[in-house]
């Protein structure tokens, strides 16, 4: 059968070939109440190809919650807590200061030490020593940024997490995974047919996605460790919109095997398919609540696409959006208190956030064709697809709408972002 042959030829796995789609992050707006912090270049880091404090500073600044104070002119530069003269930093307006050092160990590993000090209270907030391989310096910088962010804001840092997205180069599609700051892109799968809807398993080991390589939508699950992949749903008609259950054991999917597009749940190995909804219209884009007890989804059962909530135990269905005639792509906030979604208003499509308790809707973005929101695992940032000059780009907005960033890759169309879970 020629179709099968074509499919075999189309897909190849590139486990080692780093993707060309390196993302560059540009901060478009910042928060007004950012905490001022000085990061003193770590003693000895000039002997290594990577400037740890540059990576840490970029992470913290990108969050919009911290603001960098120039440490220049302080001499000698402190590297240990006992070397810090707090007067140097109060005069510069810093509320916190970070010092540290990098140096070789006898076993070939690198020792990274750092301390975070509260300038106002003149106390140490955190201090760690890491022994890492030279290849792990960037990851170590992200880990340090996570510690600093958590101590100063009270929220979990997401600088050590990864993101997935679809890059389109000419007629070639690839599913890439990169660090949250866009570095270290790796291609997970390439295809000459469209790829869409990547979603991370909550345990971070697998990505489910939809590929049209079979000349129709089919759902695959791919292991990030082995690159091995499995067809999860390839029934008659469309197989689409995968969403993981919080325990990574099941997926909610949209199948059209019994007629219209309806929601089903299926085991992560493709077995045990069960129907969830029964409507005459379109039901799609399921997204599990963090507690796994309910599902948000998009349906046109009321005449226009709106967001509904299905309570799994009772089967009860409740409409969640009323404003406007196009509300789609719901994704829960990790604390379960609300959801982000795409709404159309006045001909433009934007990302909005609805609070479950108050039912208040806040529009977060100002693009014209914003879509595919994905919430950071700390709930503080929403990554989404936007475009500029007709080209697809990724953008991020803080969940209060104040901080905005753009992630672009030179000459490449980037879309369908998916934020990975916190590193376990």
């Amino acid at each position: 059968m020629p179709l099968l042959l074509r499919c075999l030829a189309l897909v190849c796995l590139l486990a080692t070939n780093a993707a060309l789609a390196q993302l560059t992050i540009e901060i478009v707006g910042g928060g007004a109440t950012a905490i001022p912090i000085a990061i003193v270049p770590f003693r000895g880091q000039e002997g290594y190809p990577l400037s740890l404090t540059s990576v840490i500073g970029a992470d913290l600044e990108r969050s919009g919650r911290l603001r960098l104070i120039d440490p220049g002119g302080v001499n000698p530069r402190p590297a240990r807590p006992e070397e810090v003269r707090f007067g140097d930093w109060t005069s510069r307006g810093a509320d916190a200061v970070v010092v540290g050092s990098v140096g070789p160990q006898a076993d070939g590993r690198v020792e990274v030490r750092f301390a975070l000090l509260d300038v106002i209270k003149q106390t140490q907030l955190a201090g760690f020593t890491y022994a890492v391989l030279p290849t792990q310096l960037r990851a170590t910088a992200h880990r340090i940024a996570d510690v600093i962010y958590e101590k100063l804001t009270g929220d979990v840092g997401v600088f050590s997490t990864r993101i997935a997205y679809i890059a389109k180069q000419g007629s070639r599609f690839q599913l890439d995974v990169a660090d949250a700051d866009g570095f270290n892109p790796q291609t997970v799968v390439t295809s000459n047919e469209p790829l869409l809807s990547p979603v991370w398993s909550p345990d971070g080991t697998r990505i489910a996605y939809v590929s049209l390589e079979n000349k129709k939508p089919v759902i695959y699950v791919q292991s990030l460790a082995t690159g091995g992949r499995q067809v999860i749903a390839n029934f008659r008609g469309s197989n689409s919109a995968p969403a993981w259950s919080p325990d990574s054991s099941k997926l909610a999917v949209t199948l059209s095997k019994d007629g219209g597009s309806q929601l089903y749940v299926i085991n992560a190995d493709g077995s045990g398919v069960q129907r969830l909804t029964n409507s005459a219209g379109i039901d799609t884009e399921a997204n599990f609540a963090p507690d796994g007890r309910s599902i948000l989804f998009t349906s046109d059962r009321g005449g226009s696409p709106q967001i509904y909530r299905l309570t799994l135990a009772s089967g009860a269905i409740e409409r969640m959006t009323y404003e406007g005639t196009y509300n789609v792509s719901p994704r829960h906030l990790p604390d379960g208190k609300g959801f982000v979604f795409v709404r159309r208003d006045g001909g433009v499509f934007n990302i909005a956030l609805e609070d479950f308790a108050t039912r208040q809707v806040q529009v977060l973005t100002q693009g014209t064709l914003d879509e595919s929101p994905s919430v950071a695992p700390n709930g503080k940032l929403v990554l989404y697809a936007s475009n500029t000059g007709g080209r697809g780009i990724l953008a991020a907005v803080s969940s209060d709408g104040r901080v905005k960033q753009r992630l672009t890759a030179a000459a490449i169309d980037v879309r369908e972002p998916a934020w990975g879970p916190l590193a376990k």
Binding site: L20, L196, G237, G260, P305, E416
Partner: protein
């Protein structure tokens, strides 16, 4: 990024842009005004009337630009899967052809414009394809002869970011399996 890689990328992009298929000539841009029943470009071939449904010695009517059967596209309004009246003669002609010609099989491929959710558009394209299939069956085509598929907004016919492009991308394409 390494400069040579970047250059290679640029080159790739340029090649890709050049290889974009040209606009389909004469493809009808959607008529936003209510249909008055007058056939547009897509249905001008219906004058061949009752004989449209059978292959004639003169050639394959599927390829004859004068035959309604050469028209293979049904266009839709935004976020709609309602088949507009102006496409009924076209769908009827294809249904008759399927009925009259043993062994022919058809794929109806539903598509959406670039706006909004990719996944909702997959479902919408599905609905659009199913809507045309159902109408073909009403006109007597056998269900087993028609398969439907949705590409959502993943396979635009026209690259572009305005209503002119969107109108041409909100479409069903009728493909004869093994012939087209």
């Amino acid at each position: 990024m390494n400069k040579s890689l970047f250059a290679a990328l640029l080159a790739l992009c340029v090649v890709a842009c050049q290889s974009t298929p040209p606009k389909e000539e004469g493809a009808p841009v959607e008529d936003r005004t209510p249909s008055t029943g007058t056939a547009g470009a897509t249905t001008s071939g219906t004058t061949s009337g009752g004989v449209a449904g059978t292959a004639t010695r003169g050639g394959n009517p599927l390829k004859d630009p004068g035959s309604v059967l050469s028209k293979r596209t049904v266009y839709f309004d935004f976020d709609s899967y309602v088949v507009k009246d102006e496409y009924k003669p076209l769908i009827e002609a294809h249904a008759r052809y399927l009925q009259a010609n043993r062994g022919t099989r058809m794929s109806v491929q539903g598509n959406a414009d670039e706006r909004g959710s990719r996944e909702y558009n997959i479902a919408l394209g599905r609905r659009r394809a199913d809507a045309v299939k159902k109408m073909m069956m009403l006109y007597g085509a056998g269900e087993v002869k028609i398969e439907t598929v949705s590409f959502g907004k993943e396979k635009p016919r026209v690259e572009g970011h305005d209503e002119g492009a969107w109108a041409q991308n909100r479409r069903d394409e009728i493909i004869y399996v093994g012939i087209d």
